[in-house]
């Protein structure tokens, strides 16, 4: 924590406008000074030497692994194989779709109908439904599975859930 604030910056520090009346100004100034002194009374938050060493060592290990992975020949081979396989699948799917159109259409219609039958009430995300679903999962899998279930969620998924379940910042 830095300590170069002074009284001249008091109003600026707290984003407060200086009142016109002198009495009000001195009262507000005293209040803000008290607030500032209270909040600045703590020690600076720093890592201990041991913690710092631990973080740097762990970081070194991770960076070392990352660098090795990044330059490994097998990594490129693996990626090349994966891309080739994906391209092959896309081509095959396209070919099958072109030559087997009726069967695919029939199957799609069945799937669509089944979905419509079972899921007509859940067009949008319903928080009770999600709540029950997740709790069923947690009860069947045991304590700690909630973290596992949500552990892999990315930013987009979290934003979507936050918006639809309204668990976000409401204050």
């Amino acid at each position: 924590m830095k300590n170069n604030h002074n009284d001249n910056n008091l109003f600026l520090n707290f984003g407060a406008l200086k009142p016109q009346a002198p009495d009000t100004e001195s009262a507000l100034e005293a209040e803000l000074r008290h607030l500032q002194e209270t909040l600045r009374a703590e020690k600076p938050l720093k890592m201990t030497d041991g913690e710092s060493r631990r973080v740097l060592n762990n970081l070194d290990l991770r960076l070392g692994r990352y660098q090795r992975r990044a330059v490994t020949f097998y990594n490129y081979t693996y990626r090349l194989a994966a891309v080739t396989a994906a391209l092959f699948l896309v081509v095959m799917t396209a070919t099958l779709t072109l030559f087997d159109m009726p069967a695919v259409t029939e199957q799609s219609a069945t799937v669509t109908m089944a979905t419509d039958d079972s899921d007509s009430a859940t067009d949008s995300l319903d928080e009770t439904y999600v709540y029950l679903l997740v709790n069923d999962y947690v009860q069947s899998q045991g304590y700690g599975s909630g973290e596992t279930l949500l552990g892999e969620l990315g930013d987009e998924e979290l934003t979507y859930l936050e918006k639809n379940l309204k668990f976000g910042d409401s204050r």
Partner: protein, 188 residues
């Protein structure tokens, strides 16, 4: 180990270090880590209130920075870029916590900040009260408050880090201060 003299510790030095780190100079990256680790720890610790979580986040922040170094355009200070990574991590962590809490998968939403001074004097009680008040601020307000009040970043820089307008940041800060003032009044 220092790469530059004290007088050169401005953006030029930082740019050079970043350039060297990009070129694969691990020691240059270590120097960037050493210069910024306490800032990142201070922010993540204040935001999470948990020392171990903050240490993990510091590590994650620098690991992400290393991986994404090629994307750093050098338009802002390197520390601003790090703050952005750390802020994203922190907000993500808090949202996960809230989601777990919302779904009743976790017992507590916000842990008791472990940096609250542990003394029994009357002033210590006031300090605890105020630290709890900061900890209880809504996450975005708390982030803005910590960046402005403790890290002393300009509003413009905070706005750039958080990808929000300067006026939004100022409003968030004023709301946070107002809540803290009220808490202080209530304590008297």
């Amino acid at each position: 180990m220092s790469y530059m003299s004290e007088s050169d510790k401005m953006t030029t030095t930082e740019r050079e270090l970043v350039a060297r780190a990009r070129a694969g100079d691990k020691r240059a990256f270590d120097e960037l880590v050493n210069r910024n680790k306490d800032k990142m720890f201070s922010l993540t610790y204040r935001m999470t209130g948990d020392r171990e979580t903050a240490l993990d986040m510091v590590q994650e922040t620098f690991f992400t920075a290393y991986k994404e170094l090629g994307k750093f355009r050098g338009e802002a200070a390197f520390s601003s870029w790090l703050y952005r990574i750390a802020a994203n991590r922190v907000m993500n962590h808090i949202r996960r916590g809230r989601l777990l809490s919302f779904l009743s998968l976790s017992r507590e939403e916000t842990p008791e900040p472990s940096y609250i001074p542990d003394d029994s004097a009357a002033s210590g009680e006031l300090h605890r009260e105020m630290y709890q008040a900061v900890a209880a601020l809504p996450p975005m307000q708390k982030l803005i408050f910590n960046m402005r009040f403790y890290e002393e970043l300009p509003f413009r820089e905070i706005a750039s880090i958080l990808g929000r307008s300067e006026s939004t940041v100022k409003t968030g800060y004023q709301k946070a201060v107002e809540k803290l003032r009220q808490r202080l009044k209530d304590f008297r």
